[in-house]
Subunit: 406 residues, 4 copies
C-alpha cells in the first residue's frame, strides 16, 4: 500500500462499509497518489503548518461493520460523488482496506435486523463484557499486524435508537459493576469507546450516538490518559446554522422562527426514518440554535425525512423569519445541497490527525478545541460553545499554542 516512513497510525472505522468510510478510503488513496487536492481538510491549510500532524501516507485503515455489503463505490460514482478515475486508481487500496474489516457488535435494538453479518448477530448473544473484549482483540490484532504506533477509533456507525442514560453510566465503578452483572445495557457505540480506552486508543464519535459521552466513559478516558471527542459531525445544515445564526444575534435582529427541513436518502436517512433514531439528531440540531440566539420565544422545528432518490445528497431548506427595526418582518431562506459523505470524510481525517496530536501531547479527556466539528460538542470544564466562528478561533488558538510548544 505505501512505504514505511516514520510513523504508522491506524484508523479504525466503526461502520467501515458505510458511505463515509468508502469516501475516506478512496479519498485517502487519491491524496497519496496526488490525484486529489486536500479540499475540505482544514488541517492541511496554512494555519496548521508546522504541527507534527500525521501525513496521509502514514495512515492505515481498518474497521468493524455489522453488515457484509459495502456501500458500493459504483453507486457513489453514479451519483456524482466519487470520480470514476479515482475509483479505478484506488481499487488496490480499497481491497486492502476491505480485507481488514471485522464483524462489529450490534446495538441492542438492532439485533434481528435483516442483512446483518451472521457473525455480528452471533456476537449479539454474548455479554457486553465479551463484546468489549472482542473489539479490543480486533484492535490489538490490527495494531500488531501492521506494527502501528497508535490506533484511533472513529465511530461512523448508523444512528442508534435514542435512549435515556442509566444511573449506572454516571460513575465508572458503577458501570464496571453493571458490566460484570451484564446489566449495563450500553449502546454499541459506548462499547466501542470502552474498548478503545482500555486498548490505549483515542476515540472520535462522529455520530449522534452516546459513544464516550456518559460520565463513566469520560472517567475511563481520563484515567487512561486518552483524548476523545464528539458528538455528531457538523457537516451541513447545522454547520450553516451555527455560522449564520450569530449574525442575527450580533445585529440585534430578533429571530421569530427558524424552521429546518432535511431530506436525505442514504443509509443514515433510512435509519432516521425511524422516529426513535431521529430523536438524538433532532435534539442536537435544535440545541445549537437556542444556545446562539438566546431568545426563549424562538420558535424552531427540525424535520428529517427519508427521500430515497436523493441517495447521499442531503438537501435541506431552512426558513428564517425575523423581525427588524419597526417590527418589520423579514425572511431568509437557505437551500443546502451537499453530499453528506464527501462533507464528512475530510472532517474525519482532520479529527484523526488532531486526536493523534492530542495523544502525542499527552492530553487526556474531552478535546474541547474540536468543538467546531460537532453538532453537540463534548465539553469538559468550559461551557459548550456553538458559534462556529468562536469555535474555530479556539481551534486556531490551540494550533498556535501547540506550534509554540513544539
Amino acid at each position: 500500500m505505501h512505504e514505511r516512513n516514520g510513523r504508522r497510525l491506524g484508523v479504525w472505522l466503526v461502520g467501515a462499509r458505510g458511505a463515509i468510510s468508502t469516501c475516506l478510503a478512496y479519498g485517502l488513496s487519491g491524496l497519496r497518489q496526488g490525484r486529489l487536492e486536500p479540499i475540505g481538510i482544514a488541517t492541511a491549510g496554512p494555519a496548521f503548518a508546522g504541527l507534527p500532524l500525521a501525513d496521509f501516507d502514514e495512515l492505515y485503515l481498518g474497521g468493524h461493520d455489522v453488515v457484509r455489503a459495502s456501500s458500493t463505490a459504483s453507486d457513489l460514482v453514479r451519483h456524482g460523488i466519487l470520480p470514476p478515475d479515482l475509483v479505478a486508481a484506488g481499487a488496490g487500496d480499497a481491497a486492502l482496506f476491505e480485507a481488514r474489516i471485522r464483524p462489529g457488535v450490534l446495538d441492542g435494538p438492532d439485533v434481528g435486523l435483516a442483512e446483518l453479518d451472521p457473525e455480528s448477530s452471533r456476537l449479539g448473544a454474548a455479554s457486553q463484557r465479551e463484546q468489549i473484549a472482542r473489539i479490543a482483540a480486533d484492535l490489538a490484532e490490527f495494531r500488531r499486524a501492521h506494527a502501528l504506533d497508535r490506533v484511533i477509533v472513529v465511530c461512523l456507525a448508523s444512528t442508534e435508537a435514542w435512549r435515556e442514560g442509566l444511573p449506572s453510566w454516571a460513575r465508572l465503578d458503577d458501570l464496571d459493576q453493571a458490566l460484570d452483572a451484564d446489566q449495563a445495557d450500553l449502546p454499541a457505540s459506548s462499547l466501542y469507546a470502552y474498548a478503545a480506552f482500555t486498548s490505549g486508543a483515542p476515540f472520535v464519535n462522529f455520530t449522534p450516538n452516546k459513544g464516550s459521552d456518559p460520565a463513566a466513559l469520560r472517567q475511563l478516558a481520563r484515567r487512561a490518559g486518552l483524548p476523545h471527542c464528539g458528538s455528531d459531525g457538523k457537516t451541513g445544515e447545522t454547520l450553516l446554522k451555527t455560522a449564520l445564526a450569530p449574525m442575527f444575534h450580533k445585529r440585534a435582529l430578533r429571530v421569530l422562527a427558524w424552521q429546518g427541513y432535511n431530506m436525505l436518502g442514504n443509509k443514515d436517512g433510512e435509519a432516521l426514518a425511524d422516529p426513535v433514531r431521529r430523536e438524538a439528531k433532532r435534539r442536537n440540531k435544535d440545541e445549537a440554535l437556542r444556545a446562539i440566539l438566546r431568545d426563549p420565544r424562538l420558535h424552531t422545528q427540525v424535520g428529517i425525512d427519508f427521500v430515497p432518490s436523493l441517495h447521499d445528497w442531503k438537501t435541506a431548506w431552512d426558513f428564517v423569519h425575523f423581525e427588524g427595526f419597526l417590527g418589520a418582518r423579514m425572511s431568509l431562506q437557505l437551500t443546502w445541497q451537499g453530499s453528506d459523505s464527501a462533507l464528512a470524510a475530510p472532517l474525519v481525517l482532520d479529527l484523526v490527525r488532531l486526536a493523534d496530536l492530542a495523544a502525542a501531547r499527552g492530553e487526556a479527556g474531552e478535546m474541547e478545541h474540536t468543538a467546531c466539528y460537532f453538532k453537540s460538542p463534548l465539553s469538559g470544564s468550559t461551557p459548550v460553545e456553538h458559534d462556529f466562528h468562536v469555535q474555530f478561533e479556539r481551534l486556531l488558538a490551540y494550533a498556535a499554542g501547540a506550534r509554540n510548544e513544539t
Copy 2:
C-alpha cells in the same frame, strides 16, 4: 419634542426625505415613546452597557434634501414596513423634523433632473466653495437653533454616478487650490464631508458615494480632530455574504462560483437602474467576497435590478457553487427578503452614537472599529477586514476598551 436632559446631539441627515430617514424619524419617535423595542440596534445591547452613548432622547433630527416630496409614511405602511399606529403616534415628531429640512446641494451629473427642489437647482449653479459654505451655514443654524452640543452629519443620499478620483483629491492643499479655482469637481457627498469637518462635525457615510474617502478629506478630518466612517451600509445581502463566506474558507471548501442577484424597487433601486451609479455598489459587493475567500479562480458576479413592485423590499438570491472533498460539487442558495430602510435605520442610530462617543473620546480619523457596518469600510493604518465576525469582535474589543477607560 422632548425635555432637555443632559446632552443635546444633532443628527443631520443628508437625504432627509428618503425612506431610511423616514424610518429613522418614526422609529426614534417610537423608541422615545416606549412603543418600539430597540431591535436591530446593537449598541442598545448588553455588550455596550456602561458606555456614555447618547440616549435616544438626546437626539435632534435635521437634514438636507434635493427633492421636495418625502418618501411618504403611508407608502411604508402599505408595504408593511411602518406600523400604522406608530405613524399616527409619531406625526408630531415627524412634522418637527420636516420643518428642519433644508434644500441640499446637487451632485454635478444630477443637475437638471426632474422633481428637484428649485432651491437645490439654483445652488447647483454656485461654485463648490459656495455650496460648502451654504451647507456649513445650515449646520451652524441647526446647532444654534437647538443649542446642540454636537452635530453628526450622516450621508444617506442616493447613489451618485461613479467616477474615478482626480489627482487634486489626493492632498488637502491641492484640493483647496482646486476648490479656489472651482475645478475640484467633487461629488456632492464630498462637499458634505468637507463642510462637516470644517464645522466640527463627525461624518458618517452610509452610501457608496465618495464622501470622506478621498485622501484630502481624510487629511482634513485628521487636522480637524474629527472621527468619520463609511462607506456603504452593510444591511442585507453583503452582510450575509461576509457572515457566511468565512465558513467556506475555514472549512477549506473551494467556492467555485458565487452569483448574487439583487432586486429592489425603491428610489435607491431606481437610481441603481443607471449602470453608472450601479458601478460603485457592484464594486463594493464584489470586493468583500474576494477578500474573504482568497481564491483567484473564484467566479463571481453581482446583478442589481430595479423591480418597482418590490418597493423597499430588497430581494436577493445568491447561488454558491462549491467543491468539496473528492471533487464533489455542491451548492447553497440563499434568498434574502428584507426591508432595506428598516434594516438601515437602526445601523444609522448605532453609527451616530459611536461617532458621538469617538468624538467625545477625542478620536480623529477613520473609525476602524465600525467596519462591521460597511460594505467597503474605511481603514486607516490597518488592512481592511471583511469577515463580519472578525469585524464584530473588533467592535466589541473597542467597546470593552472604552468601558475600561471610562
Copy 3:
C-alpha cells in the same frame, strides 16, 4: 348598505369571524365602492362576460361563528394584507355584517374548547336535529329580514378532526333514522349542509371538512334540486402542484419524489397543529399529485407546521426530484409566499356567483365544473380530475354552454 337593484343574494358564511370572511367583507365593500379591482376573481373576467352572474352590489353577507372575537382587521393591516384605507372606508359595511352574525353549532370534538361563544356551547348540548333546526331558523330569518331572493351557504369554518364516515351516512333514509335517534354523529359541517339543503340553499364547502360529501347529503341535495360543491379550496401550494405536475407527466419526465413543506400561522394553522385535524388536509394534498403523475413509485410527503409569526402568510417549499433521459437526476424547488385569506376570499366570491347561477339554471347535485377551485373536488358521474388546466377548460366550457343557452 346598498340600493335595492334587481336581485338580492344572501351569502351565509359559516366561520364568519375568521380571516377569510373578514377579507371577503372588506373586499366586497371595496369592490362596491370602486376602491378595488376584481383581482383574483376569475368570474369577473372576459370569459364569463354575458352570463347572468350576481353583481357585487347584489350580495348580502351574514353568517355563523362559534367564537365571539373577530379576526381583527387591524391585524390584517399590520401584516400587509388589508390596506388601511380600505378598512377605514369599509367600517360601516363591516359593522352591518358583524350585526348579522349568529352563534354557530360546534363540531362534537370541539365542545369545551376555550374562547367559544357561550351560546354555541349551549347549542352543543342539543340534539343534532335541534341544531339543524336552529341553523335553518337563522337562515330563514336572514332571508326574511333582507328580502333575499336566494341564500348561498359557504363553509369557511376551521378544519374539523378527521373521522371515518359512518354506515348511516351512506343513505338519506338511514341518516334520517340516525338523526331521529340522535345517533348520526355528523360533523358540524354536515349539519350546515343538511340545514342548507332543507332550507333551499346551495352549499359551498371551502374546507376539508365532510360537509355535503357523505352520500346521504348528496342524495338530499339532489332531492331538493340544489347544487353544491367542495371540498377544500385550492388556494396555494396545491394549486401550484396541480398546475405544474402535468408538465412533468406530459414531458414524460419521471418524478421520483415530491416533498411539500407548508408553514402557516393563522387560526387554520393552529388548528392544523393538531394531527387529527391535519389528516384530512394532508390526504387532499397528496391525492392530487398521485392522480396526475400516475406513477406508483412516486415518493411524496406533505408536512404542515404551525409557525405563529407567519400569521396569515402561508409559506410553502416544494422540492421536486425528477429523472430525465439517461437517468440524469434533476430538481425543481418552489417557494410560495401568499396570504391564505386574500387568496381564498375571491375564490369564495367566484363560487357564490357560480352556485347562484347553477341554482338559477335548475342544476342539482355536484357542481363538477367547479373542480378547479378545490383540492378534493366533489364529482358526480364523471371521474375526479386534478389537472388544473383540464379543470379550468371544463369551467370555460360550462360558461360557454351557459352563455349559449341564455
Copy 4:
C-alpha cells in the same frame, strides 16, 4: 450497428460534437440495447401508440460540426449526466457516429475563431451557394452510403450572433438572386435549412438561430413539399414559465414582475456570454410570458450568465411577484436545476419522429402541432400559442387525427 429492419431513417445533426448530440448518440445506443427507459420521450408514451413513428432501431446518426473536439463523454460522466456503464456499452455506436461527422459551414461572424476545424475555416471563404452545395453533397452521400429512406436535418449548433433580417430574405426569388450575387448574407443555420429543403429533407431548428424562419425559406419548404419546425427548444426555465404562467392568468392574479436569472456553464453558456448571441435567446424567453399574461404593465427581465463550474447543469431562479385580492403582494420563487443536454436530447428524438411522420403524411410547411417543443414556435396560418398546456393538447389532437387516418 443494427440490422436492416423495415425503414432506415437518417438523422443529420448540425453541431454533431456538442453535448446534446453526444447525449443523443449514447442515449439512442442505450435505448436499442434496452439499457435505458424512454424517459423524457413523449412520443414513446401511450398517447402516441399506434402511429407509424420510426423505431429507435431505424435511426442512423450523422452530422456536421465546425470543431474537431467532441464534447467528451467522460466530462458528462463526471458531471453525473451520462452513466459510466452506458458509455462503456455505447462506445461502438459512438465511434460509428463519429466517423460520419463532416466539417460544417461557419456562421459569418464566427470566421476566425479558435479551435475550428481547418476545413470549416476553408469553407468559410467559399460563396454561400457553394457552401449550400457542399452541405447538400454531404447529405446525399449520407443517404447513399446507408441506403436511407429519408434524412431529417436537425440544427443543434451554438447560438449565432443576433441580426436583423435582410429584405432579400422575404421572398424566395429575391433570396435566390441575392445568393447568385453572393450577397444573401444568410446565417449558417439558414444555409443548412436551404440545403435540407433542396435535398428533400425536413428541417428541425432546435436553436434560437434563424434557420428556416425567414419567409423565403418557408416558401422553399412549401414548394419542396417538406415539413419543418422550430425555433429554440423549450427544455427548462421557459418550459416551466409557459406551464405555470397560465395558472396566474386563469386565476385572475396580477403578475407584477417576473424576473428570471439563468446560469449555465456549457458551450452554449459560453456562447451566450456574448451579448450579441444572447439577444435572440432573451427575446424568445421574454415573448412567451408577455403573450400568456397579456398585461402591458408586466415588468419582466431575463438574465443569462455564464458560470463555468456548472458545466451542463443549467440553474435558473425565477422570482414571480404578484398581486392578489385586496392588493396583497405575494411571491413565488422557482429554482430549476437540470442538465440541459439530457433535457434536450429526448425532445430531439420526439421531433425527428414527428418530422418523419409529417413527411410521410405529405405535410408541408410549419409543423404547428410541435409548438410545445419550442420557445418561439414557427406558426403558419394560426396565431402563435405559448401556453404549454394548450400546445400539448394540440399535439395530442394531431396524434389522434393521424391515428384515425392511418
